[in-house]
Symmetry: C2
Subunit: 145 residues, 2 copies
Amino acid sequence: MLTIGKLGAATGVKVPTIRWYEEVGLLPRAGRSVGGQRLYDEAARRRLAFIRHARELGFGLDAIRDLLSLADRPDQSCAAADAIARAQLAEVEARLARLRALKGELERMVEQCACGTIRDCRVIETLGDHGLCKGEHGGIASPLA
Amino acid sequence: MLTIGKLGAATGVKVPTIRWYEEVGLLPRAGRSVGGQRLYDEAARRRLAFIRHARELGFGLDAIRDLLSLADRPDQSCAAADAIARAQLAEVEARLARLRALKGELERMVEQCACGTIRDCRVIETLGDHGLCKGEHGGIASPLA
DNA sequence: CTTGACCCTCTAGTGACTAGAGCAATTAGG
DNA sequence: CCTAATTGCTCTAGTCACTAGAGGGTCAAG
């Protein structure tokens, strides 16, 4: 049986994060010691490792919840899991495209800067006038890295 | 003189967002009509367009605040603005590298899925066992797209 | 038995907004 | 000139996935 700190160390997840996963239902309510401290078994450790890995791959907690409930039913079709992963891949590809455009625009901006005074600064000027941009760079960047 | 709605339409910024920019000090407190509604002039419009464009390029509000105060002093050196832009570029490049790694891992996962039952699903299996991953994909993805 | 490391709950804060309630002001049409 | 529709106002709360901190309780080693 692991205390929450050992579990965190074993999985690379911070202690408050583990408690928070419990609160939002990603982890089942942990059993407690006599004094009321959480205790975890190997199954909990595997479940948390799964969550952590999925987070590293950028899945949101809702998607992870779905993936976990799928993982608990080994006889069902894998199609749903596949769909979730494909959606995540599409999301990542979209963000990649956007970031590449951003990078190009920033590079252009920085390269043109002669580093004189603000008056002649291409960085400031470009920011002030969208028309100086070559390509579109769409709307405001969305969260979820 | 523009009302807040016209200003929003002219710059592509939503009305509550404009009010929020005022609240956090990116925009000066707007003058008001007799009835208390905000009114904006051309200078405000340019300032908001600057903010919007910088947001599109992924700058955070703190960086934008700095850029704006630089833009207001045309005689000063452009070095600080250049540094902010370079930092943003570095940030974008780091996120690009991370996203590329993520994309690779997701592609591998999805490609290996034979779409049978969950029991044999590579997606679920890979998520459960980080050892099946080829490369590192670092920590949890950070926000700020 | 004490010390220090760990654990508990609870609240609040992050970034950059977005949504909604409940009401006031403006504007276009008749 | 009146009315109805639109737009505006403030304020609160919610989003995502945590993180930080206060103020205490528990546990294992020495």
